[in-house]
Structures are given as structure tokens and as C-alpha cells.
């Protein structure tokens, strides 16, 4: 995974060792750093995180936590509560979530953001995404990716006004159902694939691909943000198909 040096630094008040030293530290205690590359004002560390540590280290937070333990530097999560204003209105008024099988989706959380204006994201977010090898698309898509790179939790954004019946259902797909993804690929679905559906159709292949129908476009006003945990076996089998 490509990890930004500056991003790591943002978790610490103390100055981190220089990139080369930091890479050695990780290589001898945790993971092999395969490449160190300068990128504008930043450095990219390409870290080979092996499957046994994927769950806690495939993110900037994860690597920062590892470094904190190795150097005994205090590590602080960024407190976003101070930065984001929340209204009293409940998200459940906009969207109803239904999970058919708890085993396949132990937890599904969502938030609704209203009065959204779609446009490019701030430059510093775009830069961090580019450093980590992602392409900036729009503020909503970028923030979902940004959160994933920082925390390791994948996110997905739907256009709330395109969800039929104001309802999202987590269920197995039915044989014969089809979905077109955001990148315009057609997928034939079957019962082995977990999907997020509105009242009528699948709108997202859980944990794998977003659908084009409720995708964000320049006219989007209200968005639903998804952060969910799915059964890893089902996702893995689905992604192989």
C-alpha cells in the first residue's frame, strides 16, 4: 500500500524520523518497505502489508499506530467531531436500512448529508489522493476514498434522491438480476453475491462495486454515506467472480 509520509506525520506531534529511517524501522519490525519515492513536498512509502496484518494495518491510521508502538511516540486520532457540524435531524428519516441476514452484514451504518454542492475537492485532499495513487473525481467520491485511506474503512456514497422507496436493503442478489457499475461494466448477479438494493433493484455490490444508477453526479443534492462491515467470505467469493 502507498502511504504518504506527511499524512503519517499528521498523527504525531513529535517529528517522525526521516523517510529512509522510518522505512528501515518498519522493515525490521513490521513490514517490508519496497520503495521510497519523493512526490512534490511529500514522500511515498510503498509498504508490503501481508495478509496477517491487513485488518489493522491497511491504512494510514494503522501504520501510524504501528509506528507509535515502535517509537513509543504518542499517537492521536484526528478529532473530526470538532470539525463537522451535525444537525439534530435523524438520518433514519431520509433512509430506512434493512438487513436480511445479520451473518452476511453484521453492521451497516450510514449518515445523510444534505445541501451538497458537487465540485472538485480541496487541493490538499486531491494531493493526498494522488500521492496514494488514486484519481480525484469529485468532493463526495474523494472524501469516501480519503476516509478509507486514513482509517481502512471502505465507504460508499449514494445519491439519496435516486434511491427508490427511500429504503436500502442488504440482501443476497436474485438469479438473473443485473447491475451496471460506476465504471460502466455490466454484472450478472446470483444468490452468492451480496448486494445493497433499493426497493426495486440492486444499487451496489456489497464491498466491491458501486452501481451507476444512484451514483453521484453534478446535480446531486443529498447523499447517503455508507460504512458497513460485510462477511469477508462472501465478499471474497463475490470479488473472485
Amino acid at each position: 500500500m502507498k502511504i504518504s509520509y506527511n499524512w503519517l506525520q499528521s498523527f504525531f506531534e513529535k517529528k517522525l524520523p526521516v523517510p529512509n529511517k522510518l522505512a528501515d524501522l518498519l522493515t525490521f519490525h513490521s513490514f517490508e518497505v519496497e520503495e521510497i519515492k519523493k512526490c512534490d513536498q511529500d514522500w511515498i512509502l510503498d509498504i508490503d502489508i501481508l495478509p496477517n496484518r491487513a485488518h489493522d494495518c491497511l491504512s494510514h491510521q494503522g501504520i501510524a499506530r504501528e509506528i507509535s508502538a515502535l517509537l513509543k511516540y504518542p499517537f492521536k486520532l484526528i478529532n473530526y467531531k470538532k470539525k463537522i457540524k451535525e444537525s439534530k435531524e435523524l438520518a433514519s428519516k431520509v433512509i430506512d436500512i434493512e438487513i436480511e441476514d445479520k451473518n452476511l452484514c453484521p453492521r451497516y451504518t450510514s449518515r445523510v448529508v444534505v445541501d451538497v454542492k458537487i465540485g472538485p475537492s480541496p487541493k490538499w485532499i486531491q494531493e493526498r489522493l494522488i500521492t496514494c495513487g488514486l484519481k480525484p473525481i469529485s468532493n463526495v467520491v474523494d472524501i469516501a476514498n480519503y476516509v478509507m485511506l486514513e482509517t481502512g474503512q471502505p465507504m460508499h456514497a449514494f445519491d439519496a434522491d435516486k434511491i427508490k422507496g427511500n429504503k436500502l436493503i442488504v440482501r443476497r442478489a436474485k438469479k438473473g438480476e443485473k447491475m451496471v457499475s460506476l465504471d460502466d461494466e455490466k454484472y450478472d448477479l446470483d444468490e452468492n453475491i451480496l448486494v445493497i438494493a433499493d426497493e426495486k433493484d440492486p444499487v451496489c455490490i456489497a464491498g466491491i462495486k458501486g452501481g451507476i444508477n444512484p451514483g453521484i453526479d453534478e446535480k446531486t443534492k443529498r447523499i447517503i454515506l455508507e460504512a458497513a462491515n460485510f462477511n469477508p467470505l462472501v465478499i471474497r467469493q463475490g470479488s473472485k467472480k
Partner: protein
């Protein structure tokens, strides 16, 4: 009929001026499908009387032609001898030696590895190249649908529900099922990976697996043994070994082993670790044993030893390459 054939044959025999031509004449007339042979064969359809009469003539002609060919042959031979005597042969000169085969570099390295480990009390074993999913993965703590399986790109033999082993590690499980510790083994052998080839990767490669299990075998035992191995292998007392953390599902903890080269750079050379308790459990061990396991590329050792920069050369069978060993 027979007489016509006889005339033609005599004419041709007289004209023939070398042994090859004569041989051809023999084939045309009295060979297995020769003209005269055909006549002789056709006799069986005739009446008893005719058979006797014509048979006699035909046989006589056959004998005559045979004799003529023989005579002519001798003449030609004599002539040939005369020609040959013009060339000079030194029959006392030593003959050309039959080229002697020699061992492939991989075999040379494998034998050296075996010798070194045998001198340290390890037994050398052999295992099957076609494996079951159980021994290649499940018994080694790599469950189905575990992301760790992605670490090995596998050739599956789908119809048989088998696979080409991706490492020599399955023999750990096979051996431990049948033998109790203390044990010390190495298993050299060919392995297969379904991946794109480049100068350091090939779809087939040679590996050797090591396993040492006892009551209190530790990482320091491993480090000492492997350092001794490299000292003997590279014939140098100045070999430094270091361990870095890594992950292989069948060991805990797992490490990469680097050795220090003459130029001062560290070189990643093998993977190793302490055998995972799940592997012992699957093998049926009840008592708490501990031990280490490692896997090293024989091709890689050969590349370092002989300074070869492309692994694919080993299997190209280019004599210009092979003759250097």
C-alpha cells in the same frame, strides 16, 4: 514371362556400376515385393502340372540372378578396395572420444545442499510434485477462502481435484503425520507457480524445505544452523545472517532471512519461521513440540553461486550455457 524378366535383369546387372545400384536391382527383382518374387507367388493359383513346370524355371532364374548379383557385387567390392587404398588411414591414432555428460548446475547445487545438511544430521526426503489441496494448503494453516491463499498462484488440475505443489512445504505435513519428533529433515524438489515469468521468477523452480522439531528448538538454533549452512555453502567464514519479520501462514513468528554479500549489501534469500501450532495439531501431535521450518530456492542459490542473472536460463537447455558447469 520369367525369361523376359531374366533378360532385363541381366542387362541391368551388367550396367550397374556401384553397390547401391546393385542393391536396388536385387530389391526390384528378387526382393520381398520383387518382380520375380511376384511370379513365384502367383504359381499357387495354377494347376499342379503347370506349377511344377513353371516353378522350376522361375526358381532356376531366381538362382541365376542371385548368383549374377553376387558375382557383380564381388567385382564392385574389389574395385572399391582399390579406390580406398588410395586414402591413408592411421589405424594407431586414438579414436574420437564419446562426449561425456555432466551435471546440471541445479543438480550440483542441490547435491551440495544435501551434503551440508546431511553432515548436520538432517535426512533428505522426496515428495510428490502433484499434491492434494489438503497437504499444499489446509494442513499448513491456509484455509480455503483465506486471503493468504492469494500468496500462491496455483496450477490446479481441476478434473482430478489436485494441484501442482506451490512449495515443498506439503512434505512437512506428510512427514509429521507419520513420524514423531525429534526430527530433522530437508526436502528438495520442484515446485510450480502460475505466474508471469521474469528474470527472477519462472513457472517452475526448485526449492528445499527444512524442518527441525524437538522439545526446545528455538529461533537461535535456526540462526546457528542456517549461518553454518551458508558458511559451508559459500565456503566463507565471514557470512552474516539477519532476520526480518514476515508472514507465512504455517509459521509464527515468520521471518525473511537476509545474508550480507561481499559488496556489503543485504540480500533476501529465504523465508522461515517457527512452526505454527495449527500445523502440529493437524499432523496429530498432542504433546507441545516446537521447531522451525524454512524454504529456500535452489535456483536462487545457484544464481548467486554462479552469478547467473536470469533464472530462465536453467530450463532453456542451451548447451552454450550448460557446458560452463
Amino acid at each position: 514371362m520369367s525369361n523376359q524378366i531374366k533378360q532385363k535383369a541381366i542387362e541391368e546387372i551388367n550396367q550397374a556400376n556401384d553397390l547401391k545400384k546393385l542393391e536396388e536391382i536385387y530389391r526390384i527383382y528378387i526382393g520381398r515385393k520383387g518382380k520375380l518374387t511376384k511370379v513365384l507367388r502367383s504359381l499357387k493359383d495354377l494347376s499342379e502340372k503347370e506349377k511344377k513346370e513353371k516353378g522350376k524355371i522361375a526358381n532356376q532364374i531366381k538362382q541365376e540372378i542371385k548368383q549374377m548379383i553376387k558375382d557383380k557385387e564381388q567385382k564392385l567390392f574389389a574395385k572399391k578396395d582399390v579406390n580406398d587404398k588410395k586414402e591413408w588411414i592411421d589405424i594407431t591414432a586414438p579414436g574420437i572420444k564419446v562426449p561425456q555428460g555432466h551435471l546440471h548446475p541445479i543438480t550440483l547445487v542441490q547435491r551440495q545442499v544435501e551434503d551440508i545438511f546431511q553432515s548436520m544430521g538432517f535426512s533428505v526426503l522426496d515428495g510428490p510434485e502433484v499434491e492434494t489441496e489438503h497437504y499444499n494448503f489446509d494442513a499448513l494453516n491456509v484455509p480455503k477462502d483465506h486471503p493468504a491463499r492469494d500468496m500462491w498462484d496455483t496450477f490446479w488440475l481441476k478434473d482430478l481435484d489436485l494441484l501442482l505443489r506451490t512449495h515443498t512445504s506439503p512434505m512437512q505435513a506428510r512427514y509429521m503425520e507419520k513420524n514423531n519428533p525429534p526430527l530433522r529433515i530437508i526436502i528438495p524438489g520442484r515446485c510450480f507457480r502460475y505466474e508471469a515469468t521474469d528474470s527472477t521468477h519462472d513457472v517452475q523452480f526448485n526449492q528445499f524445505e527444512g524442518l527441525m522439531v524437538g522439545e526446545n528448538i528455538s529461533v537461535s538454533n535456526f540462526k546457528a544452523i542456517i549461518e553454518e549452512f551458508f558458511k559451508q555453502f559459500f565456503n566463507s567464514s565471514d557470512i552474516k545472517v539477519r532476520l526480518r519479520p514476515s508472514y507465512f501462514p504455517f509459521v509464527e513468528p515468520g521471518f525473511e532471512v537476509d545474508i550480507k554479500r561481499k559488496d556489503g549489501n543485504w540480500l533476501e534469500i529465504m523465508g522461515a519461521g517457527m512452526v505454527h501450532p495449527n500445523v502440529f495439531k493437524t499432523a496429530g501431535y498432542i504433546k507441545e513440540w516446537q521447531g522451525f521450518a524454512f524454504g529456500m530456492g535452489i535456483d536462487r542459490l545457484a544464481m548467486i553461486k554462479y552469478q547467473i542473472d536470469d533464472i530462465r536460463l536453467f530450463y532453456k537447455n542451451d548447451l552454450r550455457f550448460l557446458k560452463q558447469f
